[in-house]
């Protein structure tokens, strides 16, 4: 196994493109190192991207948007003084990953690239229209393209990333006025577990009326599901009982889960609706200015 510590994305891309065997990127390592120890994957090339300048930075841009470096940890997101004011749902989703110790290492990008359909931060990123910077080689050097967070994960253990692709940043849009996001997951315990169902909701209001909505489910299908019917159930409503019931029905209908050791089809389908309602209530309160 070759361990690389490139100090630029250009070098990282070059190493990744030159690698011929199994390649893994190391940021926090909370999945890669576990897989190594469990003898699931032994990479031929392990590319540590933490040494690249800027990868630990959370930047609030002039237009109100945010750029989050690929090695920024969950703890750094939670402890950032203003990020959670704009995007509390994203921060709380990332904060649900693992333990205190894991929070000191785990990253958004790692959560995304691990390829699990049950990652907590991914529905939250998709719900707020986050995009991902991907750097790769071109004829003249390297170039960076932007891809919606929703378009990275394609199935269990699978992403749309191709050889040489190195994620170089996460872009979070500027928060709109009267908006709120929220993420809830179901686990049988209180922490240290993998989502059996995850639901992210992002709402924008005009007065009491919802004018824009996005509802994203995790852990209930081979990949994350953006539920248009659920959003439509909310748009135009004031989150009354009927809208909430329609939301729950749409969320449950969008599920395509499996029976496994973590939950049954029946359970995941039913609880998706329950959590969608609860997340919508929190997002709505946040859009109204509640500090929850």
């Amino acid at each position: 196994m070759q361990y690389h510590t490139p100090d630029s994305f250009e070098d990282a891309v070059a190493i990744a493109n030159a690698a011929t065997g199994t390649t893994r990127f190391l940021a926090g390592g909370t999945d890669v190192l576990v897989q190594l120890r469990a003898d699931i994957v032994t990479p031929d090339d392990l590319i540590d991207i933490k040494h690249i300048a800027g990868t630990h930075d959370i930047t609030h841009n002039a237009d109100g948007s945010w750029t989050i470096g690929v090695a920024v940890t969950g703890a750094e997101m939670s402890e950032h003084p203003t990020l959670k004011n704009d995007w509390p749902g994203l921060v709380e989703a990332m904060d649900l990953v693992g333990s205190t110790q894991i929070q000191g290492r785990a990253t958004l990008v790692g959560n995304l690239c691990n390829g699990s359909p049950a990652a907590d931060s991914v529905p939250a990123m998709i719900a707020i229209n986050a995009s991902i910077d991907i750097t790769n080689a071109t004829d003249t050097g390297t170039a960076t393209r932007q891809v919606a967070a929703a378009d990275i994960h394609t199935g269990p253990g699978k992403t749309s990333l191709t050889k040489g692709d190195v994620i170089s940043a996460v872009n979070i849009p500027a928060v709109q006025p009267n908006s709120g996001d929220a993420y809830l997951r179901f686990i049988p315990r209180t922490e240290m577990d993998i989502a059996v169902v995850g639901v992210a909701v992002n709402l924008t209001l005009e007065g009491d009326t919802i004018t824009a909505a996005k509802v994203v489910l995790g852990a209930v299908a081979p990949s994350y599901v953006t539920v248009t019917d659920a959003a439509n159930a909310l748009i135009g409503s004031t989150l009354d009982e009927a809208a909430l019931d329609a939301l729950a029905t749409a969320a449950s209908a969008a599920c395509n889960p499996i029976d496994d050791k973590r939950g049954t089809i029946e359970f995941r389908t039913q609880v998706s609706g329950v959590l969608a309602k609860r997340a919508a209530v929190i997002a709505y309160a946040r859009a109204k200015g509640a500090n929850t």
């Binding site: 469990a38 003898d39 179901f186 049988p188 315990r189 209180t190 922490e191 240290m192 577990d193 993998i194 059996v196 496994d260 050791k261 973590r262 939950g263 049954t264 029946e266 359970f267 039913q270 609880v271 329950v274 959590l275």
Partner: protein, 760 residues
């Protein structure tokens, strides 16, 4: 379990050290990381071992080809069953068959061969180069299916003589006990409730995986360092399995990162010894977590039928039970304990119980904290709860009315001596928890629980140092703070400070045989032996003082750490402190060493009553334990905070067993959840502060009245939590674990039934 009490005088008051809470002697080492556990041993030239395990639930081993593995650079030895002793019988054969298969893989994870290499990584890679040819056999992992006449047979001819004719080959032992006339008792009842219950297998969940470092020379002399609850047992089993004499193997117990019964058995030490003998190098072997789940000893799963009759006033008229216990691919499921414990809390005229020990294609079950009793309590106490609900009776009053007490003929035969069940029920009734208002969607569950206590072979040595301090050697690994309680009992007897006693878990070459730290026996038996060794030491100290003073030995008494004349007639001498006697012991007769060796038989059984509040989210089926109170009879709490720790630990493990822990097997017979992520033990934030009440009804068989406390605490929680959840959701929960999908599914059935009823 022996219930005979030796005639001894019991001291219950005026303690100076007993009943206080000094720091544990291993505390600093454990919080600083200096403590040496099983995997912390190293030796020059040491090799690392790995075990190849069956991926199949049941398969004939046609051929094992280790040539590719053996040829890998760095591999120094390979072993198969051919490298172990032959001609074994009984339990030794079972243990060997379990830790190294002969001709058939009996469960997913069954060890088939092993390698030792110069690094752990090479050993791991070598395992991947082992080629085993299998012939697949049908498998069964469920206890009820395994009892069916068409079930795949695990090993024909295993059943012992106790099994009645006509049962399947997988039923290997049978138990039946009781007294009175249950038919008459049920006929007399105002209400009879009968129900069937199931529990899944759970694992002890100790955080430290099994680990050892072993050396076995060609001359047959061996050394083993390992984490175990009983190193003398490891010594005996290892010697038998590798074919040498017991005394030639010296075993040292490491610090232990949890055992709970699961480290009373031997899995890897003989494998490391066999590899060492072949490689002529020390061999270290450490299980992975997944190996621990697949191939150590979880507890039995159970399928149980309970029937209890009750009068309108709450008096029980009769009770009967059938317990079907699944114990893996070997005999040993603790069905006799299940049978004996289930109705033990109740003073029953008519009682009958049957137990079946059933084999399946699962790992060989091992002890887990009060083995067999928690499942019985779950089933029995659920029916008692249902009877109370149906008859509108108070659950504590009903239990008080029927409670076993001194003189009760126990459901399993003997007559109870002094016991404290009634006192735990009274304390529970008086506890503010019992009458506190309940929040929405919350139920309150009550349960009693019972476990024996055990004596067992015990040997203790107490050596005095020249400065008057004490080296106490005991042979029972410290799994619950026993070094502290032994030090307290020694200090109490000698009249010296606790800090002047250093307690060591001595190796197998240092003491006589000590039975395993199991059966809640350590504070009772090693404690009794420590007190007796101290009294032996005092006799020797008094003799030295008598010689110095020129008076009769009998005229010397021991008071507050000093020899004193026993009365005015004995003479007028200044008190002689322990340090003054020991300073000159070299020239007054040599070293002073006290000791005690015996099999104490005055162990006293222990009862508990638990109260728990469980809140269930009706939309997700998720349970939160919002309040928990343990009331248990400790006889005498030597170190009260460690007693409380045992109470809380049992409750915590019981909550996990009730709610989320389970062995999940796929249709292929493979274990699905082999890591802690998916085998869900409670995390700290899942539990409320567990309140404790220590009841002290002295055991007449111990000098201070001690009863074992480590196991009884896990007996009531399964039932108490199930009763609370059943109350919260309005459905009798008859199957564990009560996972959110399970509860939500029951709620769905209830809602559909209600709707169907309304429509119909």
């Amino acid at each position: 379990m022996p219930n005979d009490t030796q005639k001894i005088s019991v001291k219950t008051t005026d303690f100076k050290v007993v009943g206080t809470t000094p720091d544990r002697p291993d505390g600093i080492d454990k919080v600083t990381g200096r403590a040496k556990f099983g995997a912390d041993a190293y030796a020059p030239g040491m090799l690392h071992a790995a075990i190849y395990r069956s991926p199949h639930a049941h398969a004939k081993i046609v051929k094992i080809d280790m040539s590719r593995a053996g040829a890998l650079k760095g591999v120094k030895a390979v072993v198969t069953r051919a490298d172990f002793a032959t001609g074994l019988a009984g339990e030794n054969w079972n243990i060997l068959e379990n830790i190294m298969a002969s001709d058939t893989a009996l469960y997913d994870g069954h060890a088939i061969c092993a390698v030792a290499a110069t690094s752990a990584l090479i050993a791991r890679d070598a395992i991947k180069l082992i080629d085993v040819e299998y012939e697949m056999l049908p498998h069964v992992t469920d206890v009820d299916k395994s009892m069916a006449s068409d079930a795949p047979v695990i090993r024909a001819g295993t059943a012992d003589k106790s099994v009645p004719a006509g049962l399947g080959e997988n039923v290997v032992r049978y138990h039946e006990s009781g007294h009175g006339d249950i038919d008459a008792g049920f006929a007399a009842a105002d209400l009879v409730i009968e129900d069937t219950f199931k529990t899944e297998a759970t694992h002890q969940g100790y955080i430290e995986p099994h680990a050892c470092l072993a050396t076995l020379d060609t001359d047959g002399k061996g050394e083993v360092w390992c984490c175990t609850q009983g190193h003398f047992n490891v010594q005996k089993v290892c010697a038998a399995l590798v074919g040498t004499e017991t005394s030639q193997i010296r075993v040292t117990a490491s610090e232990i990162g949890g055992g709970f019964g699961g480290k009373t058995v031997v899995f890897i030490e003989p494998v490391a010894l066999a590899l060492s003998r072949k490689a002529n190098r020390p061999v270290k072997l450490v299980m992975s977590r997944s190996e621990v789940f697949r191939a150590s000893g979880p507890t039995a799963s159970a399928s149980m039928d309970i029937k209890i009759g009750m009068m309108k006033d709450g008096r029980m008229t009769a009770a009967s039970a059938v317990y079907r216990m699944q114990g893996g691919a070997f005999p040993g499921a603790p069905m006799e304990f299940t049978s004996m414990c289930g109705f033990a809390p109740y003073n029953l005229e008519n009682v009958h119980q049957i137990g079946f020990d059933v084999m399946t294609n699962r790992p060989k079950q091992a002890a887990y904290r009060a083995p067999g009793s928690p499942m019985a309590a779950f089933a029995v106490e659920s029916v008692v709860d249902e009877l109370c609900n149906e008859l509108g009776l108070d659950p504590i009053e009903v239990r008080l009315m029927n409670a076993s007490h001194e003189g009760t003929k126990a459901s399993y035969g003997p007559t109870f001596q002094r016991i404290g069940l009634v006192q735990t029920l009274e304390a529970a009734k008086a506890h503010p928890h019992f009458t506190a208002p309940l929040a929405e969607n919350t139920g309150r569950g009550i349960s009693c629980g019972f476990w024996f206590n055990h004596g067992g072979e015990t040997s203790v040595t107490m050596a005095l140092s020249e400065d008057g301090t004490v080296a106490l050697s005991v042979g029972t690994p410290d799994i619950g703070g026993s070094r502290a309680s032994m030090g307290q009992m020694a200090a109490e007897e000698l009249g010296i400070p606790y800090e002047d006693v250093r307690v060591t878990i001595a190796d197998t070459a240092t003491l006589g045989y000590n039975e395993i730290s199991h059966g809640s026996r350590v504070t009772y038996a090693s404690g009794l032996a420590t007190i007796e060794a101290a009294r032996d030491t005092l006799k020797k100290l008094c003799k030295r003082a008598a010689a110095k003073w020129g008076i009769d030995e009998d005229a010397v008494a021991w008071v507050d750490g000093c020899a004193v004349p026993s009365g005015a007639n004995a003479g007028d001498f200044d008190p002689l402190p322990i340090g003054k006697i020991t300073r000159s012991m070299g020239r007054t007769g040599g070293p002073i060493v006290g000791h005690y060796e015996a099999t104490p038989e005055g162990a006293g059984v222990s009862f508990a009553t638990h109260i728990v509040d469980a809140q269930v989210d009706p939309e997700t089926g998720k349970t939160a334990i919002t309040r928990y109170t343990v009331v248990q009879d400790a006889g005498k709490a030597i170190h009260p905070t460690y007693v409380e720790g045992q109470f809380q630990g049992g409750a915590a493990q019981g909550i996990g067993w009730a709610l989320n822990e389970e062995y999940i097997y796929g249709t292929d017979g493979r274990l699905q959840n082999t890591i802690f992520l998916d085998y869900r033990i409670p995390v700290a934030s899942d539990l409320p502060m567990i309140d404790t009440v220590i009841v002290e009804v002295p055991n007449p068989g111990h000098p201070y009245g001690v009863r074992g406390v480590g196991e009884t605490s896990i007996c009531p929680p399964l039932a108490a939590v199930a009763n609370a959840v059943s109350g919260a959701v309005g459905v009798r929960m008859t199957q564990l674990p009560m996972t959110p999908p399970h509860i939500l599914s029951e709620l769905g059935k209830k809602a559909r039934a209600k709707k169907g009823g309304a429509n119909g």
